[in-house]
């Protein structure tokens, strides 16, 4: 399997995406951002479609669009009387519909759309892998930089604000990192399933460990392991790569649930 260059690139991408999704997923689970993540990931389709129509890098436009949607959800949620889930529902369905409409104007409609919806990691090029690695490094460095303060806000936002932490700025930064991570993951498992990589490894880690250090290490490890095992499964059984990765991740979660019914020690 690993003698093939395309599999080497795919495995490298799977490890990178698994690590960054595991790391950011720690905060997604801790701060209950899963549904916002779903909204942003589905909105990425709209961003990809804009890139395809405009003839620029679809993942670049997806990143810009996803960030705009993330900030828009936060802003509209703050200013309106609507519940957060209603606001998310509006943004993600509207964005995804925009994407489908724009794609319908292009030739090769189903091929391109399918790849962005469900992932196309086996076709990742060396250049794309380098870009993915750079984006992953950027997100991880930013997360490391702000981790203690983000963790403080997760514990008690009011105390953090009273002690001079820039809560608004950090919450915005977290949403931007979430949007970037989602776009990083779209190439691996697609917009429909990328949320799973943000939630499942971190949720699994929370079943095994009670402290943040252990949960972070486990979440990133489980994310990477899901990617590698899922790709291996897809290779040997000729299955869809992205979905196989998510299935392995889900399998690890349910196995953990069965083994750790009492939660972490």
């Amino acid at each position: 399997m690993i003698e093939f260059a395309f599999m080497q690139r795919a495995l490298a991408a799977a490890v990178l995406v698994g690590v960054v999704c595991g790391a950011l997923g720690f905060f997604v689970v801790l701060r209950r951002l899963a549904f916002i993540g779903v909204g942003i990931s589905h909105s990425a389709i709209g961003g990809v479609a804009i890139g395809v129509v405009a003839g620029v890098s679809p993942l670049l436009t997806a990143a810009v669009f996803a960030i705009a949607v993330a900030l828009g959800i936060a802003a509209v949620g703050r200013r309106s009387a609507l519940s957060e889930d209603a606001v998310i529902g509006v943004f993600f369905s509207g964005s995804m519909a925009l994407g489908v409409v724009l794609f319908s104007l292009q030739r090769g409609y189903q091929q391109d759309l399918f790849g962005y919806l469900f992932g196309d990691v086996l076709a990742i090029s060396g250049r794309e892998l380098a870009t993915l690695a750079a984006a992953t490094a950027l997100v991880l460095i930013a997360l490391a930089f702000a981790f203690r303060r983000l963790f403080f806000i997760a514990f008690d936002e009011e105390i953090a604000q009273a002690y001079g932490q820039p809560v608004g700025l950090l919450n915005t930064a977290l949403l931007v990192l979430l949007a970037l991570t989602i776009v990083i993951g779209v190439r691996l498992v697609g917009a429909i399933l990328v949320e799973a990589l943000l939630v499942i490894p971190a949720a699994c880690a929370a079943l095994w460990a009670s402290g943040w250090r252990a949960q972070l290490v486990l979440a990133t490890g489980l994310g990477a392991a899901s990617g590698v095992l899922g790709l291996a499964l897809a290779y040997w059984l000729n299955l869809a790569a992205g979905a196989s990765i998510v299935l392995v991740s889900a399998g690890l979660f349910f196995a953990s649930l069965a083994l750790r019914r009492g939660g972490p020690a």
């Binding site: 801790l30 514990f155 008690d156 105390i159 604000q161 009273a162 002690y163 001079g164 929370a206 949960q215």
Partner: protein
């Protein structure tokens, strides 16, 4: 400067959604004193604390904390807000939570130093939680979590503590233990304390001064005078009588324990 009040409010008003929720609040608090803030539900007690911390803007008047406008940049204030119990699954130890109180002294690229770790250890020892430092915060009892939050606030400041309903949800023995701890910390460190509580009797027994508000100032003075004042009854819009010697009875129980 040493004789200046620690906290000074002059004509402070706060608005929320176009409506005045605090009107013309004025008082000052000297160093080493314990001020209790009481009033009925919706009186604006928590809003008053949050204004003193710079968490809500004021529509009129002036607030000074250690001679400066309030705001998070000053490492002079420790804060324990009203809160429900920490989620059982929150992935932090007692030590992690207390260390958060040191965060504003650290730069973005700095890790906690030996001085920060020593401060955490001292604060935990002061509240009697040193043996639970490695326990997950979510597995402590309500009273223990409240002590940990006090330790976090002490790590943030040993000059002024601001406490919002610090004993809510605690049973009587835990409440008395908390106030006894606060009393000893105040004596040891010369703390200035501001506490909001709906428990008028308990706060009257502990505080050096009471201020009663219900959107506006109703009365400010020593606890004995305040609890027997007509202004207090006006603020609460009800008549009630404290049994003779009840506050003394509360103190006696505290000493016996």
């Amino acid at each position: 400067m040493s004789g200046d009040p620690v906290v000074r409010l002059a004509g402070v008003s706060v608005e929320r959604q176009g409506r005045r929720v605090l009107e013309d609040i004025s008082f000052s608090l000297d160093a080493g004193h314990f001020l209790g803030v009481v009033g009925p539900n919706g009186a604006g007690k928590t809003t008053l604390l949050r204004a003193m911390l710079g968490l809500v803007p004021i529509a009129a008047g002036r607030i000074e904390v250690f001679g400066r406008p309030p705001g998070g940049a000053s490492p002079e204030v420790g804060y324990v807000p009203q809160r429900h119990a920490v989620a059982a699954s929150f992935p932090a130890t007692v030590r992690d939570v207390v260390m958060m109180g040191r965060l504003r002294r650290l730069g973005w690229l700095e890790r906690p130093r030996a001085a920060d770790r020593e401060s955490v250890a001292r604060s935990l020892a002061r509240v009697g939680m040193q043996d639970r430092a490695e326990r997950p915060i979510g597995r402590l009892s309500g009273g223990e979590q409240r002590r940990v939050m006090l330790a976090q606030a002490l790590c943030a400041s040993q000059r002024l503590l601001v406490l919002d309903e610090p004993t809510i949800g605690l049973d009587l023995p835990a409440e008395q233990a908390f106030y006894a701890l606060l009393r000893s910390l105040k004596e040891e460190l010369g703390l200035t304390v501001i506490a909001v509580s709906h428990d008028l009797v308990a706060l009257a027994a502990e505080a050096d001064e009471l201020v009663c508000i219900n959107r506006s100032m109703h009365v400010h003075g020593n606890p004995e005078d305040v609890v027997h004042s007509h202004a207090l009854r006006e603020a609460y819009s009800c008549e009630f009588n404290f049994l003779a010697g009840e506050i003394a009875h509360h103190e006696r129980i505290g000493r016996e324990r």
